[in-house]
């Protein structure tokens, strides 16, 4: 038992832990919940009161109903988009980390690559998506490349800062014990870069949703981005908004998931013992 927890005896077991964590979420985020519900309530009220046409701005109830009616399809499309995001995110993180590690250990590489990396972000994503489809085909690849392009940048920048921002006295201590560059990396630089890495990963996770949508707009008939275009063309604005709701939820979920991974990989930031 963690003796530094406060004294109230709590029942053990998974069910009560879930209940306690849910209660804590509500306690912490009650204001966000209220703002969200108030916003939804206002939306519903205004669309009804002002008799706004369905093809201009559907009411919240209409959107939820559209979500329910087409739910099997939406779930399938979410699966497609999630596949692209998962692949793109993993490759983007890998690429970002490799670049950051390389630049952190070689001044030449840093000076040679960093400006090019920054320049790569000036390329507007929707613009590059089309050529990518032409070059790579009408498959999952262009979407993954688009996501990688978006994802790798916050990873590289943050990881590089984390790897190079180590206390010089600590590095000196390592040198005094004749530590090799690899040992310094594995024992010091990499662990100390994790908080920065996860900050970048949270950004990347959220932006990867946008990346997937852009990729699908140009070269796909599957996925949430494609669904959005299709329903928009049919003037089914209620389904368009249903799609937007799902995309937003996806972004938030990925952000939270990254946070959870961070929680379990950096235990020293919230625990007292190993």
């Amino acid at each position: 038992m963690n003796v530094l927890a406060h004294d109230r005896m709590r029942p053990a077991g998974v069910r009560s832990r879930v209940w306690r964590n849910s209660a804590r979420v509500i306690r912490h985020y009650w204001l966000a919940l209220i703002i969200f519900l108030a916003f939804m309530g206002l939306w519903e009220a205004l669309t009804r009161l002002l008799n706004v046409p369905r093809y201009v701005l559907p009411s919240v109830s209409a959107i939820l109903s559209a979500m329910n009616v087409d739910r099997d399809n939406l779930i399938a499309q979410t699966g497609v988009t999630l596949q692209e995001i998962a692949l793109g995110f993993v490759c983007g993180v890998a690429a970002g980390m490799l670049l950051a590690v390389a630049m952190a250990h070689s001044k030449t590489l840093e000076r040679g690559l960093y400006p090019i990396i920054i320049a790569s972000q000036a390329v507007p994503v929707p613009a590059i998506a089309s050529p990518l489809v032409i070059w790579l085909g009408y498959n999952i690849l262009p979407k993954v490349v688009v996501i990688v392009l978006i994802v790798f940048f916050p990873i590289v920048v943050n990881e590089f800062v984390g790897l190079t921002g180590v206390d010089p006295e600590l590095l000196n201590l390592m040198r005094s014990m004749s530590a090799s560059r690899w040992k310094v990396f594995w024992n010091v630089r990499f662990p100390s870069s994790l908080p920065f890495l996860f900050a970048g990963a949270k950004l990347a996770a959220t932006y990867s949703v946008i990346g997937a949508v852009f990729g699908e707009w140009v070269g796909s008939d599957q996925g949430l981005g494609a669904y959005l275009l299709q329903q928009n063309a049919n003037l089914r604005i209620d389904r368009v908004f249903a799609d937007i709701f799902v995309l937003s939820a996806l972004g938030v979920l990925l952000f939270i998931l990254t946070g959870v991974v961070e929680y379990f990989t950096t235990p020293w930031r919230h625990r007292t013992t190993k």
């Binding site: 206390d167 010089p168 006295e169 600590l170 000196n172 201590l173 390592m174 040198r175 005094s176 014990m177 004749s178 530590a179 040992k183 024992n187 010091v188 662990p191 100390s192 994790l194 950096t266 020293w268 625990r271 007292t272 013992t273 190993k274």
Partner: protein
């Protein structure tokens, strides 16, 4: 009390290197300043440390004490002079001494026992073996209950003890301790000083200690060196005529006070000189 001018480096080198555990021969250091000129950090220093001796260097801020340490540890190459250990020239070689600073520099993502074992693990010892030795050391000195804690859960004094154990476990004959208790409060500092002496009595390593505190210097050491202001040279050397083990009552003995009076006057002299100096080195320049 002897004057360091009596040291004759050229004649003494061969014999000096052989008879001392650590022999620093005519070591000095200049850094290239921002304007391109030479910034002297350390003047010519020649010092011999006997095996198992406890020697303290006291000096004003910026006189080059830490630079001297870095040179002995092999982290910085001297502009002139050589460093000998057990008769061998070890100038510029790292990994031969235990090294400890004012900051505990414990790795926050490793537990206490993993931190203590760090030096051994870096030297290639198998982690399980290293950790067992670390565990033994922690239990020996009363921190056994904290072996699985993270450093942030410990107090400053405890963290410095862990850092000292890491330094000890690195198992080198020579330890360089650069103001290890400087960041602690006066009470904790005194407890740590007595603890260090207990540990040293058991292990009998050669210790080179840096401090600003004259009391601490006299209480801990066999010999005290006073360094001049930048560029630092050894201004005065002083034997501490107190028997071991050192006890609390010695702090108020006339012998203690006499030594303290002399050293304090010299140190104060040099500190005043430092206050009027214009340029100082940044940390980046020091670790160049």
């Amino acid at each position: 009390m002897t004057n360091s001018a009596a040291w004759s480096s050229s004649a003494a080198t061969a014999s000096g290197a052989a008879t001392y555990k650590v022999y620093i021969d005519g070591v000095s250091k200049s850094f290239t300043g921002p304007a391109g000129g030479d910034v002297p950090a350390l003047g010519k220093v020649s010092v011999g440390l006997r095996d198992g001796e406890f020697v303290t260097v006291v000096g004003p801020s910026g006189c080059g004490k830490s630079t001297l340490f870095n040179i002995i540890a092999g982290l910085v190459l001297p502009s002139t002079g050589r460093v000998y250990m057990d008769g061998t020239d070890v100038t510029g070689r790292t990994g031969l001494v235990g090294y400890m600073l004012q900051k505990d520099l414990l790795l926050p993502w490793k537990s206490v026992v993993e931190n203590v074992a760090l030096g051994l693990e870096l030297a290639g010892v198998r982690p399980a073996v290293a950790r067992e030795q670390g565990r033994a050391l922690l239990r020996r000195y009363g921190l056994g209950d904290f072996e699985r804690h993270y450093p942030h859960a410990l107090s400053g004094g405890m963290r410095q003890r862990v850092a000292l154990m890491r330094t000890l476990l690195y198992a080198k004959d020579v330890l360089l301790l650069d103001e290890p208790f400087g960041a602690l409060d006066a009470q904790t500092r005194f407890i740590m000083q007595q603890w260090l002496l207990d540990v040293w009595q058991e292990n009998k390593r050669t210790i080179l200690f840096i401090t600003h505190d004259v009391d601490e210097a006299i209480f801990l050491s066999d010999r005290v060196f006073i360094m001049s202001s930048r560029p630092g040279t050894i201004k005065e050397e002083c034997e501490v005529p107190l028997e071991r083990p050192r006890t609390l009552d010695m702090l108020t003995r006339p012998t203690f006070t006499a030594v303290k009076a002399r050293l304090f006057a010299l140190l104060h002299d040099e500190s005043m000189r430092t206050l009027t100096q214009q340029d100082t080195l940044s940390a980046a320049e020091r670790y160049a």
